[in-house]
Symmetry: C2
């Protein structure tokens, strides 16, 4: 659905940048959109009301991948089983498509259906999670670590990931509560644990996965001598840690009872996925 | 003031990306922030209430300059009399600083002081003006034109500039009216005429200005054989057209009487400036 809203917004455009925006929004797991919609459902908010919030987080996520893949960043050729945007088009198109996807995310947030005050909280938290104290800050630490002589400690990696992927996964999990006017919800804790488990599992897949299934290059971290959860904890230790986090994430949802079973399943999926 | 709010937001950070965000926000003319504050004053909204809207537009403008200067875009070495961000740091830092400045712009908008409904209108229009149907769309046309065999027609340049610089200058001029709950204001017309005059004058400065005063390379358009307002209208014709637009912009403000004199002076400044 998130992809549909993005495609619908761009329907009358066919410039390379608009094509690249659509292209970059396709083929993902849709985890973040799923979290938004489930979190909304838990608070009695249907998918037609929360759809734009789900589309917003997928647009923002797509932008972050397009920019992270750039030659000056992680320099990746493949993403979701397809050439990255700068390989399929060029770097200028990739920079602009990412930029416009970020703007589009905020346009979508304004359109989602909840009271104005709740919507402003949603937008403010989204912007904070995306910026220098959230996703961009984490990406900066990641790039710096690749160029540094000293590998990161486990605490540093945890802090990096809390920004790079954690902040927006947490936002997604909390979105429904915020839309319903609940600014402090157990979903925050759930999102935080889940986000970290998600990233640990990404490190596991970089070791255990095959590029075709994962849809992007694997083994990159090890080849680069990069410190990861796996290099610190070992493969089994990393899997154990991820499982503990998923358990804690599920426990955080106890107040919602069986209604939250789908979110618990999603958490378990995160540490069983092959891509 | 806009610079101060950006600096204050980043006060406890000193990573290269946060340094680059501050650096990129310094030394501009502050035209857009000025328009926001004057537009607000005309509607009885003081600078303490509109300050975050002014900071938002300057953060967004700074991001657009950092990305436009990248090697894959306009490949510029100097901006506002200083090395561009990717020259002073590197490309990754420039991409990330621009990305985080865009997020910061939206954080600031959420903080500005007006009723929630008006603020959402302000945010929605801002996001639209920044995106593929506004600034990014204009920048895409500009990059495509540089690579195309055929120079652009005058209509095409006008359309390009309406997106690239016009949409956000218009937003700035209207911001105070929107904050006051007026969604259709003569300031929209004023902003549109002013934005186009501003861009025509940029083309004039590219021919007449010297690099030291202007603060960036000049003569680039002519060297690249690029179609501009000057190449179509001639130097005198372009100046005449800019003056007509400024007159129309000033006329659009008649309903505000003498109260709008500062905005009229700003419009006249736009076509007398040397940088």
């Amino acid at each position: 659905m998130a992809q549909n809203l993005i495609a619908r917004h761009l329907v009358d455009l066919d410039s390379p940048v608009s094509q690249a925006m659509r292209y970059a929004s396709n083929g993902g797991k849709g985890l973040r959109a799923f979290l938004v919609l489930e979190s909304a459902r838990l608070h009695g908010i249907g998918s037609s009301r929360a759809g734009f919030a789900a589309a917003a987080i997928e647009a923002l996520h797509a932008y972050s991948l397009v920019h992270d893949d750039l030659p000056c960043m992680d320099d990746d050729d493949m993403r979701r089983g397809q050439p990255t945007v700068h390989r399929r088009w060029d770097e200028a198109t990739a920079v602009l498509a990412g930029d416009a996807l970020q703007s589009l995310a905020f346009q979508f947030l304004v359109l989602c259906d909840c009271p104005a005050g709740a919507k402003l909280t949603l937008i403010g938290r989204f912007a904070a999670a995306a910026g220098i104290r959230g996703m961009v800050g984490g990406q900066e630490m990641d790039i710096a670590a690749e160029r540094a002589a000293q590998p990161l400690t486990l605490d540093e990696i945890t802090c990096l990931q809390a920004g790079k992927t954690g902040a927006l996964i947490r936002w997604s999990a909390e979105a429904g509560a915020v839309m319903a006017g609940e600014n402090h919800s157990p979903l925050g804790r759930y999102g935080e644990e889940l986000g970290l488990a998600f990233q640990i599992w990404d490190d596991v897949l970089d070791v255990e996965g095959d590029a075709e299934t994962v849809g992007k290059a694997v083994g990159k971290d090890d080849a680069a001598g990069k410190a990861t959860f796996v290099s610190h904890l070992g493969l089994d230790g990393a899997k154990r840690r991820a499982a503990e986090l998923v358990e804690a994430a599920c426990d955080a949802l106890s107040v919602y009872g069986n209604e939250a079973e789908t979110l618990r399943e999603a958490a378990r999926f995160v540490i069983s996925r092959r891509k």
